[in-house]
Subunit: 187 residues, 2 copies
DNA sequence: GTCTATAGACCGATAGAC
DNA sequence: GTCTATCGGTCTATAGAC
């Protein structure tokens, strides 16, 4: 178990969840505090009482999604052998991507957040752990490219126009099947 | 050859290129007309003389990147047999992704643009053609997921923090190698 | 914890001179 | 084709009452 983000108060959680929904629809830069306030039927001032700047809300929203990923790692890590851990991890990452669709992808695709996370301790910590669970001791730049491709493939495919009409079950099954193949695992 | 976008005047091209650079850095919603104007040392009014709204600039920028992809398809299509076409296509898509990095990915990751492109004729046309060249006659939802994953993997991996320090040559080679494996092609 | 009201900057967009 | 000047509106953020 690694250090965890403290749970949000109910009021803050409402703000962060509203922010995530709006980010997914309008992008981070296209979402204003007024929109967030309207979405939960309070005034801007009430939002500012919880978070002092918009940046703090963006950070809290990004951390909230990061915490979901960290929780997935924790659960998978308890699966036993490295092989079973990796299998469990793939299943749960696919589930997370399908469930959260645009929220994960939009946040982690936003250039401002990408740049911020690149030097953000907690993010790097989670990514290192994820990388180790996926790739074992296969380190080095080539393993990094492979891990980046796999994560981008799962996260990005779910919001690709090519699959916009697809039912969730097929999506899940196919993502999982191809992810396994990508890692040279048996079907 | 399919219908092409008419070439931009030099002035419009300057605006669109500035917009693309700024979108990659600040996101679409985080980029203002003032920023675009400043970036090419003119006033907002001069920009408005070329494009009547910000949306028109966003569209022109997205179409510009789409045109690059279409040009890649045209070049690859001339390679001969379906196998050689696919090989050429992979090489050039990887090159495009590495060269354009955040421009492609940010634009195609923006939720507003994703939603717009999903019903945009030219985009669907290019994607259909790309899909056919990649997957041959392998149609259906499962092939769609595979194509979406491959495109997302290539486009998304290049801007992933995991590979932020990596040199371009290794990046290109490894992306290409893994893309081939993903399609069951020989190394 | 939520409100009303407001400050000051910046937004997209337009008018009209050169 | 670019400029200055300006419009009305929205933005982030704050002050102060309840």
């Amino acid at each position: 178990m690694v250090a965890t983000t403290p749970a949000l108060s109910p009021v803050k959680a409402r703000i962060v969840n509203a922010a995530l929904e709006l980010f997914a629809e309008h992008g981070v830069g296209g979402t204003s505090l007024q929109m967030i306030a309207d979405h939960i039927n309070v005034t801007k001032a009430a939002v500012y009482h919880q978070y002092r700047t918009k940046d703090e809300i963006v950070l809290a929203a990004a951390e909230s999604e990061l915490a979901r990923l960290a929780a997935v790692l924790d659960t998978a890590a308890a699966a036993g052998s490295p092989d079973r851990v990796r299998e469990e991890l793939l299943i749960r990452i696919v589930d997370l991507a399908v469930e959260r669709r645009r929220m994960e992808s939009t946040l982690l695709g936003d250039p401002v957040i990408v740049r911020f996370f690149a030097n953000y301790q907690r993010y790097r910590q989670v990514m290192r752990r994820l990388h180790r669970m996926l790739m074992g001791d296969d380190a080095g730049p080539r393993a990094n490219v492979r891990a980046a491709m796999l994560l981008a493939a799962i996260g990005g495919a779910v919001m690709h126009p090519l699959v916009s009409g697809l039912d969730e079950a097929t999506m899940r099954a196919e993502l999982l099947r191809l992810a396994r193949r990508f890692l040279d695992l048996p079907d």
